[in-house]
């Protein structure tokens, strides 16, 4: 039982937002998946589960999902272990390269791999000329490889933090009990960071099955649920919204099952570290040092190859869509002459979305963390939904929900902004929540006991302490908002096209020069945002 104060209207507004922007659109496609020719039926679902074409699609989805997850886990956990347990020179460089690999849109990566390892790929043809034949990257193995390289940085960043947080005393205790370092790794360290491993593995799985660009560009006929839903929805002739909705919901359902599975597996494994002593990095020398450095740098460089390739090609001389020998700025000239709209749209849309995310996300994060009640707990639960709803699905849901009176938003920039807003809102809510847990609730109560009302206590005490966390979250939202492809692709019309959509179209149309130049500009904007983020994160208060 709490008194009514400023937070009561905030809670009501929060529910209005969640109901209007999340529950309503998803409810709408849930409903339409059960309608065929105006009648309620399970026909769409029975069709999907009986037709071999769709069953193959579901099988493919699991295949690339698990493949991407396992690949990302092996690479990410391995790198995290090496970097957090041994003296590796230039750790910051490794972390920056990992971040770059993480934030570049997946379809840029896919496109670069084609440039290098496709049928006429640079690397493939040069290897062929010296007698080494490797198959082109297209198809399932290529998709899995791209996923592994695309998503391992996520695994790396999450598990590196967990490795660092394992108390040194625990490892020393194991050692003093006569356990060898290898055994200690498998019996003490890895079990302790298992929550981080499963959480990051889950993330890699969910992102792999939600990814739309990679299978579309590199899959060459490989259909997964995300691409299938888009094709069914966007087909000029015979667009089947009901079937597209059903496919979308199966995709959401799979993600949801795995999220619940991970939570169930980890239900008891919460470890509290007290009296922490940070783990030590061991000095290494000789051959071992060489191997580990080569492995660590090799991996992050491999992950950054797509980025480097794109930058390189953006500066190649072109004539029309064809690359010529030598370097030139023709691609950039064409982008600036003809394609300034997508750049401006991207900047405006992401800026508005991020401001809204910061304001709403901070208030929601506070409500959920500090004002626990049934209403805020349910809000917290509902806000996990966007994590498992792929962009394509969110796009389809928005197109279905906001094309009838009173809210006709289809074809406007607003619908693109709202989709980005709801997709990225949970990240800021949870990062604010995490930051809040570091700040004692007593601070605010101290302010109140000194005579400051609750709203002002939040603004004068908690908000200033939250700012580094809020800024970091905001920059992350900005980066992902700028790179948002799948929901925008469903929702854009000519006027409201964004950079990622334009890049995607350029790749599909074979205009690689323009794609490369636009990608490089997007990447530059992204890096600026990351630098600002890490600068803000460094300015934390010590308490």
């Amino acid at each position: 039982m709490t008194r009514r104060d400023i937070w009561t209207p905030v809670l009501i507004a929060a529910w209005a937002i969640v109901l209007g922007l999340l529950v309503w659109p998803l409810g709408k496609i849930l409903l339409s998946s059960f309608i065929v020719d105006g009648e309620y039926t399970f026909a769409n679902y029975t069709l999907i589960f009986s037709e071999p074409r769709f069953l193959r699609t579901i099988g493919n989805t699991f295949l690339v999902g698990f493949g991407g997850m396992i690949g990302a886990l092996i690479l990410g956990v391995g790198l995290a272990f090496v970097v957090s347990r041994f003296e590796i020179r230039g750790r910051t460089a490794i972390e920056v390269l990992a971040l770059i690999a993480m934030v570049s849109p997946p379809f840029i990566g896919a496109y670069s791999w084609i440039v290098l390892f496709g049928a006429n790929g640079l690397v493939r043809t040069s290897l062929a000329s010296i007698g080494i034949d490797i198959p082109p990257i297209y198809g399932t193995p290529g998709v899995i490889m791209v996923f592994a390289l695309k998503f391992f940085p996520q695994v790396f960043l999450i598990t590196a933090g967990a490795f660092a947080a394992v108390s040194r005393s625990l490892e020393e205790a194991a050692e003093s009990l006569g356990v060898s370092p290898t055994r200690r790794l498998f019996t003490i360290t890895l079990p302790l960071i298992m929550p981080a491993i499963t959480a990051s593995g889950l993330l890699a799985f969910v992102m792999s099955i939600a990814d739309f660009g990679t299978p579309q560009i590199i899959g060459r006929g490989l259909q997964v649920l995300a691409t299938q839903a888009y094709i069914l929805y966007s087909a000029d002739l015979g667009s089947n919204q009901g079937l597209a909705s059903a496919i979308s919901l199966i995709l959401v359902g799979i993600s949801m099952v795995f999220v619940l599975l991970q939570r169930w597996m980890m239900r008891r494994d919460i470890y509290h570290n007290s009296g922490m002593k940070r783990a030590e990095r061991r000095p290494i020398a000789g051959l071992k040092s060489l191997y580990l450095h080569v492995a660590a740098y090799g991996l992050v460089l491999l992950g950054s190859i797509p980025t480097i390739t794109v930058i390189y090609y953006s500066f190649r001389r072109t004539r029309g869509p064809v690359f010529q020998d030598g370097f030139g700025l023709q691609s950039y000239e064409r982008v600036l002459q003809r394609l300034s709209d997508p750049i401006i749209n991207t900047l405006i849309y992401s800026a508005i979305a991020v401001v809204a995310i910061v304001v709403v996300g901070t208030l929601l994060g506070y409500l959920i963390t500090r004002r626990r009640s049934l209403a805020t707990g349910a809000l917290d639960g509902i806000l996990t939904v966007p994590y498992v709803v792929p962009g394509v699905v969110m796009g389809i849901a928005y197109a279905a929900a906001f094309n009838v009176a009173p809210l006709v938003l289809t074809g406007t920039g607003a619908i693109i902004i709202l989709a980005i807003f709801i997709r990225r809102l949970p990240y800021t809510v949870s990062s604010v929540g995490a930051a809040l847990r570091q700040i004692s609730p007593n601070l605010e109560q101290a302010a109140m006991s000194l005579g400051v009302p609750p709203g002002r206590a939040f603004l004068k005490v908690t908000a200033p302490l939250l700012i580094p966390g809020i800024v970091a979250g905001a920059m992350m939202s900005l980066v992902t908002a700028m790179n948002e492809l799948s929901s925008s692709l469903v929702l854009y019309i000519g006027r409201t096209i964004t950079m990622p959509v334009r890049i995607y179209i350029a790749v599909i149309d074979g205009e690689y020069g323009i794609a490369a130049a636009l990608s490089t500009i997007l990447l530059a904007m992204t890096i600026v945002a990351i630098l600002a983020m890490s600068y803000a994160a460094k300015r934390q208060y010590k308490s």
Binding site: S449, L450, V452
Partner: protein, 358 residues
């Protein structure tokens, strides 16, 4: 004069989880009042209800004749000192202390004067410009104290303010708190689970257990005249032996009957006595209850030694003040214990004390 009245305060977190079960307390103006009890006894919840951070399910909080219940925390004019200090890490020491004064829209020179005064009182006059991260735990808690008292609240609440500090600092700071409280005459409620701390600083102690008041009294009363078994066991060390009150009004212990100063209803009882009440003799008769036993071990604590003595009726701790060297090597020796009847207390199985009719 009554500074604060708590009337029939009830609080539960969901059905069956009773935290406070009807608390009635009256605080005298200017007194140092301590809520003492084990963790989970409801003492912190009660403090937070007074502060306005929790709301009771029923009952009233009245300060200086004004009902506080409808007022939110920031309008109650009650200062609070927190266990984790709750010093604002982004503000300097002086800004922390000025925080509540600014909320009261005092003129700048008045604020500056009162900040200086308060920092002098807690001996942090030279620390005004520092950030809290540059301060030790003890210094941070001094800032917390200065910040709370500078608003001249009608009531000062302290929630285990010393439990995050190390032992020596704890003793030092508790003397400071007591001294400042007496000088300013602020009515204070102090929450702690440390019985020694409670005995050292309080005018009155309220022993709490499972959401109820077990005993209310001066430190001397609480220690020497416990009214219930819980209070006697929680404060200081107490020996307990099973015994029986006979029909004739004697105490039956170890197959023998001992004469008591008065009569009480018969039944099973627990015999309770402090380790320092026991007299240790090698042999020979003395007044009071006698018990034969064997010394199991001796713990030397400098100022005193404690023998663990095994008797047929149970294990008994015996404290010897300023022990001689020869006292320390008595392990495995036999010992005869004597309990002056005036120093024993009897408790019924329901925890209440046996009262004797003369």
């Amino acid at each position: 004069m009554t500074a604060l009245s708590l009337r029939a305060i009830h609080k539960s977190y969901g059905p069956g989880i009773k935290v406070l079960d009807g608390i009635d307390l009256e605080l005298v103006s200017g007194e140092f009042f301590t809520l003492l009890g084990p963790s989970g006894c409801g003492k912190t919840t009660l403090l937070r209800i007074v502060a306005g951070f929790h709301q009771q399910d029923s009952g009233e909080v009245i300060a200086d004749g004004v009902k506080l219940d409808p007022l939110p925390a920031h309008k109650r004019d009650i200062g609070m000192v927190f266990q984790d200090y709750a010093i604002f890490p982004h503000l300097t020491v002086a800004q922390n202390v000025a925080f509540g004064l600014k909320a009261r829209n005092l003129p700048a020179d008045e604020i500056a004067k009162r900040v200086e005064e308060s920092l002098n009182t807690v001996r942090l006059a030279d620390y005004g410009d520092r950030l809290p991260s540059a301060l030790s735990g003890g210094q941070q808690q001094r800032v917390g104290l200065a910040r709370a008292m500078t608003i001249r609240p009608k009531l000062l609440l302290m929630d285990e303010p010393l439990s995050n500090l190390d032992a020596k600092l704890r003793v030092e700071l508790r003397e400071d708190i007591r001294e400042i409280q007496q000088r300013l005459g602020i009515t204070t409620i102090y929450v702690t689970h440390d019985q020694e701390e409670a005995l050292a600083v309080s005018d009155r102690i309220c022993v709490m257990n499972a959401g109820r008041v077990e005993q209310l009294g001066t430190p001397y009363d609480i220690y020497n005249h416990p009214k219930r078994r819980f209070a006697s066991a929680f404060i200081g060390t107490m020996n307990f032996l099973s015994a029986e009150l006979t029909q004739s009004g004697a105490l039956r212990l170890g197959g023998k009957d001992w004469t008591l100063p008065g009569k009480a209803a018969p039944g099973p009882v627990e015999l309770a006595f402090r380790p320092e009440a026991v007299r240790l003799r090698a042999a020979g008769a003395m007044d009071g209850i006698a018990l034969a036993g064997k010394i199991l071990k001796t713990t030397y604590l400098g100022r005193e030694a404690v023998h663990t003595v095994v008797t047929p009726e149970g294990t008994v701790l015996v404290q010897v003040a300023s022990p001689a060297r020869s006292e320390l090597d008595k392990a495995t020796h036999g010992a005869e214990l004597h309990l002056p009847v005036a120093d024993i207390v009897l408790f019924r199985p329901d925890g209440s004390r046996v009262e004797f009719a003369q």
